[in-house]
């Protein structure tokens, strides 16, 4: 499942998830920055957890797993809210880190951790912005948190 749609695609199993997304599925919103797990630009969700798609062999994603890329954001109320807040706060400068950054934001808000500077920064610690525009990004996340829809909270383990 990619962004809520079932997709069937053939690929060599050790091809990077990033390449399967961008080249085989033509989901080019996910960016390749460093290609070695340092920058977080290629962050996507696999079963709700943020991973760097440059370091994951696509074959490690099991059949039936749910992948969400930046393209999947606009399908959800929370994702659209985040997009608006990123725009409103001017969170994007050059924009290259944003597809990964906003996926980390989405995962963080879905987890429903107690909102604090500490948890917010920790959730985005694996995403590097070389324009160093972190303040406005954090402002956008905090603004989205204030009106985050309850329906967009991930079920906790005890509930699922």
């Amino acid at each position: 499942m990619v962004n809520g749609e079932e997709r069937t695609v053939e690929f060599p199993p050790a091809r990077r998830l990033l390449d399967v997304l961008r080249e085989d599925l033509r989901l080019t919103g996910t960016k390749e920055g460093c290609g070695e797990g340092e920058c977080g630009a290629c962050t996507v969700l696999v079963n709700g957890e943020t991973v760097v798609s440059c370091l994951m062999a696509a074959g490690q994603v099991r059949d039936g797993a749910e992948i969400m890329t930046v393209e999947g954001l606009e399908r959800s109320e929370g994702g659209r809210l985040l997009q608006r807040m990123y725009q409103e706060k001017g969170a994007a400068q050059c924009g290259f880190c944003i597809p990964g950054m906003i996926v980390s934001s989405y995962a963080y808000l879905r987890r429903g951790e107690s909102l604090s500077d500490q948890t917010m920064r920790d959730a985005h610690a694996g995403n590097i912005c070389r324009c160093t525009g972190y303040e406005k990004i954090m402002e956008a996340v905090a603004a989205a948190a204030e009106r985050w829809p309850r329906s967009e909270l991930a079920k906790t383990e005890s509930e699922s």
Partner: protein
């Protein structure tokens, strides 16, 4: 830049669901392959050509037995497939081995923590690996298995040299057994790097010790990034045990540490800074123990 069609395109992947299946694949010449866990080191090394791209990969991420954390008497077994995230968030680890939980929280960022595993960190055997130093102060035994059986080896012996471990053909790391923090003991993990996340350590380390009646009862300390592998400092430990932690002890332990470690200069730091800061770290650990 790595284009599609890069080094890993030809690799075949196998997906054992159990430890027995994984060991069977490793045993059989026709299916023997390179073990892959979280991929956070191997994928980089393969793509960069630091390691030859494999023909066959055995993906361990589906082996549930490797993801267990459980009590074994008064010790803990931690499976090789336990991720840094699990180490960080496990209440059992936080209570019984807080320095390890703290160390795991400083590896990479959230994404790397969700992917990388304890076993992978040991297998990669980088001197800058953030997991080994904490394990070294906890009387850690590494459990390895092959299709022929299991064996257990002390972590100090398991870490042979720079990127060299005591893992033979057909074997995989099942997990580690560690001593938990006992009544009256304290421990601490500290890491020095250029930034808090996504940074490889310049120097880091962990201590575990006990201070009672104004005397050091026990003190184990291990450092990383100062030698070809993570190391204990037995001479420093022997020096402080039995002493009061006063100004003189702190100064002498700091100087002794700096004189004993023999780090190198590389892109992340210099030998002289690493020696100096190693002494400061040990001094800080002793101050923490005394608090």
């Amino acid at each position: 830049m790595s284009a599609v069609g890069s080094k890993l395109e030809g690799a075949r992947m196998m997906y054992p669901g159990t430890l027995v299946e994984a060991l069977g694949l490793l045993e059989n010449e026709g299916t023997r392959g390179i073990l892959l866990a979280g991929g956070t080191d191997l994928m980089v090394q393969w793509e960069a050509g630091v390691r030859a791209a494999p023909e066959r990969i055995i993906d361990l991420s589906g082996v549930g037995e490797l993801k267990e954390i459980r009590a074994v008497g008064d010790r803990l077994f931690i499976g090789a497939g336990v991720t840094h995230r699990m180490l960080r968030e496990s209440a059992v680890i936080q209570r019984g081995f807080p320095a390890l939980a703290a160390a795991a929280a400083t590896v990479g960022g959230r994404q790397i923590q969700a992917m990388g595993t304890l076993g992978g960190s040991l297998a990669n055997a980088s001197p800058a690996g953030d997991i080994a130093p904490s394990l070294l102060v906890a009387d850690t035994k590494v459990v390895v298995a092959s299709a022929k059986g299991e064996r257990t080896v002390g972590l100090e012996a398991f870490l042979i040299d720079y990127r060299k471990i005591d893992l033979r053909d057909g074997e995989l790391i099942v997990g580690v057994e560690v001593a938990t923090l006992k009544e009256g003991e304290k421990e601490q993990w500290r890491k020095l790097g250029p930034r808090a996340a996504q940074a490889i350590s310049k120097v880091m380390g962990t201590y575990r010790g006990k201070y009672e009646g104004g005397r050091v009862v026990s003190f184990a300390v291990a450092l990383g990034s100062v030698a070809p592998k993570a190391i204990r400092l037995p001479d420093v430990e022997a020096f402080v045990v039995g002493r009061e932690i006063d100004r003189k002890t702190l100064e002498e332990a700091e100087a002794l540490t700096s004189s004993l470690v023999k780090p190198i200069s590389d892109i992340r730091s210099t030998a002289s800074y690493r020696s100096w800061v190693s002494g400061r770290l040990v001094r800080g650990f002793l101050e923490h123990l005394r608090e």
